[in-house]
C-alpha cells in the first residue's frame, strides 16, 4: 500500500534519513523501531508532506506522492498522529475532532459516534478545551482526531510516550481495534516490546537506515534486537 524507495531527507547539512526503503502492506500493523535520533519521525513527516525529501520516492496505492502538498496527502487517506500529540489547546475537544475532518464535506455524525465509542472519556469532555486534558486523554484525542479524516493508513509517532503502562495497554488495544476496522497502521515506538508484540511486520532503523526487518514476533526473539531495544 505504502512503498518507500531510497528516501533521503536532509535538514540543512544534517542527513536525517540516508536512503531507506520499506513497504507497508495493506491491512497490517507495521512498526518502525529505532533509537532516539535514528530518523523515524522524519520518515513519517516526509510521507505526510511536512518535509520535502532530498531524493527517493514515496508511493501510496500506486500513486506517486513524493513531495506532494500535505493537504493532498491527507485527502488520499494518509493521516499522522504526531509525536507529542500536538492537540490544539484552545480548541474544544469537539473542535479538535472536527478539524481532523477539515477536508471532508459529508456528515461527521457516524465518525463522531465511533470515536466517542472508542474513547468515551472524550465524549464527556467534548466541550472542554484540548489543553485542559491529561496527557493520556490528549493522546486519545490525537488518535481520534486522526481517525476523523477517515484514513486508510494511520501513522502514529510514539503514541505511548510519557503514558502510564495501563494507558499504554489501552492505546495498543485501540490500535488493534482500529486496524480490525480496516485501517492500516504504521507505528513508531520506543516501547519496542509492545510495538513488536502488536506488529505483523517490523523494521529496525539505525541512524538513517533500515538494518533489520521481519515479523514482529521474530524480531522480539532476535538477540541483537533484544540487547539494543528490549533492555535484556
Amino acid at each position: 500500500m505504502l512503498k518507500i524507495r531510497d528516501l533521503k531527507v536532509n535538514y540543512g547539512a544534517i542527513e536525517a534519513v540516508k536512503g531507506i526503503s520499506f513497504d507497508v502492506p495493506e491491512g497490517k500493523i507495521v512498526t518502525l523501531i529505532g533509537a532516539n535520533g535514528a530518523g523515524k519521525s522524519t520518515v513519517l513527516k516526509a510521507v505526510s508532506g511536512l518535509v520535502k525529501p532530498k531524493s527517493g520516492s514515496v508511493s501510496f496505492m500506486d500513486e506517486d506522492i513524493t513531495s506532494k502538498d500535505a493537504a493532498l496527502i491527507v485527502g488520499r487517506g494518509i493521516t499522522l498522529v504526531p509525536e507529542g500529540r500536538r492537540i490544539f489547546s484552545d480548541l474544544t475537544v469537539l473542535e479538535n475532532l472536527k478539524i481532523g475532518a477539515f477536508l471532508r464535506r459529508d456528515s461527521l455524525t457516524e465518525d463522531l459516534n465511533w470515536v466517542f465509542q472508542l474513547f468515551p472519556r472524550l465524549k464527556e469532555r467534548s466541550w472542554q478545551h484540548g489543553g485542559t486534558l491529561s496527557g493520556g486523554e490528549q493522546q486519545m484525542l490525537a488518535v481520534a482526531r486522526a481517525l476523523m479524516s477517515r484514513p486508510r493508513l494511520m501513522m502514529m509517532d510514539e503514541p505511548s510516550l510519557g503514558l502510564a503502562p495501563l494507558i499504554v495497554r489501552d492505546i495498543f488495544d485501540i490500535i488493534r481495534e482500529i486496524n480490525q476496522r480496516g485501517v492500516t497502521i504504521l507505528l513508531i515506538e520506543q516501547n519496542a516490546n509492545m510495538a513488536l508484540g502488536a506488529a505483523d511486520l517490523a523494521y529496525v532503523m539505525e541512524t538513517g537506515r533500515i538494518t533489520k526487518s521481519g515479523p514482529g514476533s521474530e524480531l522480539l526473539r532476535d538477540p541483537a534486537v533484544k540487547a539494543a531495544y528490549l533492555g535484556s
Binding site: 505526510s48 508532506g49 511536512l50 500535505a70 493537504a71 491527507v74 485527502g75 493521516t79 499522522l80 504526531p82 507529542g84 500536538r86 490544539f88 489547546s89 484552545d90 480548541l91 473542535e95 472536527k98 478539524i99 481532523g100 477539515f102 477536508l103 489543553g131 482526531r145 479524516s149
Partner: protein, 292 residues
C-alpha cells in the same frame, strides 16, 4: 456636561482605532509579525477614496475602496511576507518596515507631496446635535458600525470552519497542515479581513479630517498598535478595549484646554511604556508557555 463632546469624540475615534487595531492583532496572532505597513494601508485606503471619488459617485467609490484596499493587503502579504515564511522573524519585520516606506513613497509620488482633500461623504459628514453637543454624524455611526463588524468577526472566528482553521493555524502551523489546512490561504484571509476593517476605519476616520498626506497613516496606525499591545497583542477583545480606552482618554485630555491637546498624543506612548514595564503581555495577552 462639559466632557460630553470629548467622550463622544473619544468613543468615535476609539472605534476607528479598533478597526485598525484588529488588523495588527490578527496578523500578529497568526504570524507573530508586527505588520508595520498596516497604518500605511489605512492611509492608502484614504488616498484611493480621494482619487476614486473624483470620477466616480460616492456609492460606487466606497465599495471599490474596500475591494482595492483588500487587494493591496493581500498582495503585500503574498509579495513581501509569504516568500519569507521560513526566514527568521526579524527578516519579515524588516520586510514589513520596507513595505511601509514603499507605500508612503508611492503615495508621495502620486500626490506630488501635496495634501489631498478628502471628499465629504453626504449624510455621514453632516453636522448633528447630540444631547446638546455639536458633532458630525460619523461620531454616532462609528461605534455602531464598529460593534456590528466586531460581532460579525467574532462569529466568523468562533462559529465557522475558516474561523476554526484560523485559530488552529495561529497555534501550530505544522499540525494545521496535517489536518489538510492550507496555511497560506488562511493567512491571506487574515490579511483580507484586516485590510477590509482598516478600509472601513479609514473612511470613518478621514471623514473628520480635511486632507491626507502620505504620512497620515502613521499616527492612527501607531495608536492602534499601542491599543493592540495594551490589550495583549494577538487578542481581538483586548485590541478593541485598548482602542476605546486610548480614544476616550486622549480626547478627555484634550478637554483640559489647548495646552493639553499637545499632551494627548504623548499620553498614548506613556501608556505604552507603562504596559511594557508593568505587564508586557497586555490585558489579555497569551502566556509565553503555550507555544510548542
Amino acid at each position: 456636561m462639559r466632557y460630553l463632546p470629548y467622550i463622544l469624540a473619544g468613543i468615535s475615534v476609539g472605534g476607528q482605532y479598533a478597526l485598525i487595531a484588529i488588523g495588527y492583532t490578527m496578523v500578529y496572532g497568526i504570524l507573530r509579525l508586527i505588520n508595520f505597513a498596516h497604518g500605511d494601508i489605512f492611509m492608502a485606503a484614504g488616498l484611493i477614496m480621494i482619487y476614486l471619488s473624483g470620477p466616480l459617485t460616492l456609492w460606487l467609490s466606497l465599495p471599490l475602496v474596500l475591494v482595492l484596499t483588500v487587494l493591496l493587503g493581500f498582495v503585500v502579504e503574498r509579495v513581501a511576507y509569504k516568500p519569507l515564511r521560513d526566514a527568521p522573524r526579524m527578516s519579515v519585520m524588516i520586510s514589513a518596515i520596507g513595505v511601509s516606506y514603499l507605500v508612503q513613497n508611492v503615495a508621495l509620488y502620486i500626490t506630488g507631496g501635496l495634501a489631498k482633500t478628502y471628499p465629504t461623504i453626504p449624510w455621514v459628514s453632516d453636522t448633528i446635535n447630540l444631547f446638546g453637543a455639536i458633532t458630525k454624524r460619523v461620531t454616532v455611526i462609528t461605534p455602531i458600525l464598529t460593534a456590528v463588524l466586531i460581532a460579525g468577526l467574532v462569529l466568523l472566528i468562533k462559529k465557522t470552519k475558516i474561523g476554526m482553521a484560523m485559530r488552529a493555524v495561529s497555534r501550530d502551523f505544522e499540525t494545521s497542515r496535517l489536518m489538510g489546512i492550507k496555511i497560506n490561504a488562511v493567512i491571506s484571509v487574515t490579511f483580507v479581513i484586516g485590510s477590509f476593517l482598516a478600509a472601513v476605519g479609514s473612511a470613518l476616520y478621514f471623514a473628520n479630517y480635511t486632507a491626507i498626506v502620505p504620512t497620515s497613516g502613521a499616527m492612527p496606525g501607531l495608536k492602534a498598535f499601542v491599543a493592540a499591545v495594551f490589550g495583549g497583542i494577538g487578542s481581538i477583545p483586548g485590541a478593541v478595549i485598548g482602542a476605546f480606552l486610548i480614544g476616550i482618554s486622549e480626547n478627555v485630555i484634550k478637554s483640559g484646554g489647548s495646552g493639553w491637546t499637545t499632551f494627548s498624543d504623548a499620553f498614548t506612548f506613556v501608556l505604552l511604556i507603562i504596559i511594557l514595564v508593568v505587564r508586557p503581555t497586555g490585558l489579555f495577552g497569551e502566556k509565553q508557555t503555550d507555544k510548542v
